[in-house]
């Protein structure tokens, strides 16, 4: 490039913004490379936790969190809630997550017609697809 004469030189602000951009570029690259090279390879592991049970019209809603502590994303995750009553009755409800990213928590809920607060509720992830 032919050096044109710069009447005022490069403004200070340009140095600051450019420098901040260079730092950010390195930071983004560093985070991605660290994550990519960490070699973490654990399969999805999904832990379910009941957060709250609320009585609603026609039954109960169980709000829960699903935490994927694995290193891979689980897609199309099927959640099944099984409620066994003391009288041997059995009720199931399902929920579906499009994605559970690694080391993340997602929220959801299932509807049941019997009160799960009496106990006997089992929540678990049934399966997933590799995205």
């Amino acid at each position: 490039v032919a050096k044109a004469s710069a009447p005022e030189g490069t403004p200070l602000l340009e140095w600051l913004v450019g420098g901040a951009g260079a730092l950010l570029f390195c930071a983004v690259l560093g985070v991605l490379l660290m994550a990519g090279l960490s070699g973490a390879d654990a399969p999805p592991s999904i832990e379910m936790r009941v957060e709250r049970v609320t009585q609603v019209r026609g039954g109960y809603v169980v709000e829960f969190t699903a935490e994927n502590s694995g290193d891979h994303t689980a897609a199309a995750v099927e959640i099944i809630a099984e409620l066994r009553g003391a009288d041997g009755s059995r009720e199931t409800a399902r929920a579906h997550f499009e994605h559970l990213p690694p080391h993340s928590i997602r929220r959801g809920g299932v509807f049941l017609s019997n009160d799960p607060r009496a106990g006997g509720l089992v929540l678990r992830a049934q399966g997933y697809a590799d995205p």
């Binding site: 490039v1 490069t10 420098g19 951009g21 985070v31 991605l32 990213p101």
Partner: protein, 276 residues
């Protein structure tokens, strides 16, 4: 001081450009998913490619008063900063990024959009700020390789906007082999027509018959090859090239190259227009 004020105004324009150019991606569901489904090393590769392309675009279009390589590098870094900040703010506003997400997921989502947003940032300042600064900066020389580089930027930009979507794969499924072949021919014809009539002629002399073959061989065919390579790169980055039979991969590439051809054909016209 005055130069600083002018630069700040340029930055404001850059934010608008970044928002405009990356908006389709901000509002694409599959793009959000890339944040956690895409391979991190491949996203890093995309980010690495972004900076030299921004530097060359700054050289070719002239962002701010760019004199020499340091200024172009500063401009590219500034565009990256603007792109990443725009991505962070817009994706947060749209509820795509939330504080509960792991950091790597957030960084990945932003990384995907830095390339198109960065291009928007560079072009907007040049486009909107030209009058104010009276045509600041010397536009870079336009040799043969620079033209090809510009086609690469245009091809990657347009293809990136559609590459993450499921429709891209769906279109490939819908097409038979003959339709795919037709699409490839139409893409090449489109690219050739854009280069021949929008780009090389128009303002200058009418198109001569000899131009047709010269442009076809030197630019259109080379440009289509660039589209194919850009498409392959994006398919690889987004993990769509794995475990796919060659025939199907070819279909993906042709579909994506259709979009890329449009970008490659118009890139020079868009940037050249700004030189006035």
């Amino acid at each position: 001081m005055q130069a600083n004020t002018a630069y700040a105004r340029g930055l404001a324009r850059a934010f608008v450009g970044a928002l405009l150019f990356a908006l389709p991606l901000f509002m694409t569901m599959e793009m959000w998913w890339l944040g956690f489904t895409a391979d991190k090393l491949r996203l890093a590769a995309l980010v690495v490619v972004t900076l030299p392309l921004l530097v060359s675009l700054s050289y070719l279009a002239g962002f701010e008063r760019a004199f020499g390589i340091v200024d172009h590098l500063l401009d590219a870094c500034a565009a990256f900063l603007v792109a990443a900040l725009t991505g962070a703010v817009a994706l947060t506003l749209l509820g795509v990024i939330t504080p509960t997400q792991p950091a790597i997921e957030i960084v990945s989502k932003i990384a995907v959009v830095t390339f198109p947003a960065g291009i928007g940032a560079l072009l907007a300042d040049k486009q909107l700020g030209r009058k104010e600064r009276g045509g600041a900066g010397e536009p870079g020389a336009r040799g043969y390789w620079m033209r090809l580089l510009l086609m690469l930027v245009g091809a990657l930009f347009v293809a990136l906007n559609v590459a993450p979507t499921d429709e891209m794969v769906l279109i490939a499924f819908q097409l038979g082999p003959l339709q795919v072949a037709l699409l490839a021919l139409v893409s090449l014809a489109l690219l050739h027509a854009l280069l021949l009539w929008v780009d090389f002629s128009g303002r200058d002399a009418p198109v001569k018959a000899s131009d047709f073959w010269s442009v076809l061989l030197r630019f259109s065919l080379a440009g289509y090859a660039i589209c194919v390579l850009s498409s392959l790169l994006l398919l690889w980055v987004f993990g769509r090239a794995e475990d796919v039979p060659l025939a199907e991969l070819t279909e993906y590439v042709v579909v994506l190259s259709f979009a890329a051809a449009l970008g490659a054909g118009l890139a020079h016209a868009v940037v050249a227009e700004q030189r006035g």
